[in-house]
């Protein structure tokens, strides 16, 4: 695979290293002269100097044959524009953008820049995962495909406790894909019985979270372990 990484900060450099170790071809583009000189020693010909929001810089890096463009500069405008041009002008199939300010997330969405990864959002999600106070954790949201995976901890008063998976009439567009019990995850069978304290992983169409919460964690609180 050939990947162009824009922005040689901590994220860009480490990403480039990992991809090179995995045997991929990488170009790492950096627009600050001093930063470029610092990375050139390590990355040699894979390091390129220039402002990747300018078309000729991307063309010089061979954007036409890139399989992946990752924009991870500290500037959201740059990240949006690099990805937009890569996707719409050079028809690069896979783009990934970094969101520095979570408030700009809407702008990335508006311009069709997906996935857009925000460290703040990721850390927030991890915190929710570690401290499941809300009963529900968003594990994955594929916005374009309108698909989500959520995790719910089954409370003692849930109507589904003691029910066989086969007998639980979940709303259309949702499915239990895994159950975590006592720290072990397994794919449920038709006769698996849901217990209080289970963590169920569900795949669902966007918008069904509320309905599903009523099945597994009706009062919004998690069961005491």
């Amino acid at each position: 695979m050939y990947a162009i990484i824009v922005g040689a900060g901590k994220v860009g450099r480490n990403l480039a290293r990992e991809l090179i170790i995995k045997g991929h071809e990488v170009s790492l583009i950096e627009s600050s002269r001093s930063c470029y000189l610092a990375i050139e020693e390590e990355f040699e010909h894979a390091a390129q100097y220039g402002d990747a929001t300018e078309l000729w810089v991307l063309e010089r890096a061979g954007i036409q044959r890139a399989d992946l463009v990752v924009a991870v500069t500290g500037d959201d405008e740059d990240n949006m524009l690099v990805c937009q041009v890569a996707k719409e002008k050079y028809l690069c199939e896979r783009i990934i953008a970094r969101v520095n300010n979570p408030r700009n997330h809407d702008h990335f969405r508006l311009l069709g820049i997906q996935p857009a990864v925000s460290a703040t959002d990721l850390i927030l999600r991890l915190i929710e995962h570690e401290v499941p106070r809300y009963g529900m954790v968003h594990l994955l949201a594929l916005e374009e495909e309108r698909l989500e995976i959520i995790e719910l901890e089954v409370t003692a008063e849930a109507p589904t406790v003691g029910e066989r998976v086969n007998d639980i009439a979940l709303p259309d567009g949702s499915l239990i894909i895994s159950v975590l019990r006592g720290g072990i995850g397994f794919v449920p069978k038709a006769d698996t019985v849901i217990e209080a304290g289970d963590e169920v992983l569900l795949v669902l169409d966007t918008g069904l979270e509320e309905a599903l919460t009523a099945y597994f964690a009706p009062n919004g609180h998690t069961a005491e372990a």
């Binding site: 929001t53 078309l55 000729w56 500037d75 949006m80 041009v85 002008k89 408030r103 702008h107 311009l111």
Partner: protein, 142 residues
């Protein structure tokens, strides 16, 4: 017509003044409160007395754009100092707020061309400067 101008530098403020003089409703957004002085310079009345609107705020902040009246803008002009800012806010004006006429200054000629093909009305001073230089040099280099 309601004209929203983001970026009150030399270009933005001059266009704002002429649009106001032509009888349009004009709102200017700039992150620098001092840029207001450019709107007053050389005028007999202050910008506000002449019925101009001025908002201090960052163009990428949706709230600032709304405060400056983007929701009812007929014309949007992106004239901040940065190409990248102009390209993003112009697309926000067009795609999110449905502003019909969006004009944007892009220094980089290559991107002015490409975004022009994508439906933005791009104005590239660099391109004009190159053409003028070439024309001026023609007799010299003949």
């Amino acid at each position: 017509m309601f004209v929203l101008i983001v970026g009150a530098g030399r270009v933005g403020s001059a266009v704002a003044k002429s649009a106001l003089a032509a009888g349009h409703e004009v709102s200017v957004l700039d992150q620098d409160p001092l840029s207001h002085e450019r709107l007053d310079a050389g005028q007999s009345k202050t910008w506000e007395d002449a019925n101009g609107q001025f908002t201090v705020g960052t163009a990428l902040e949706t709230d600032a754009l709304i405060q400056a009246g983007i929701e009812r803008a007929d014309v949007f002009i992106g004239s901040t100092a940065g190409d990248n800012t102009n390209l993003i806010i112009a697309q926000i004006a067009q795609k999110r707020f449905g502003v019909e006429r969006v004009f944007v200054r892009i220094m980089d000629p290559a991107r002015a061309d490409w975004y022009g093909e994508q439906g933005l009305h791009t104005i590239s001073p660099t391109k004009h400067a190159i053409e003028m230089f070439e024309r001026a040099l023609e007799p010299e280099l003949a």
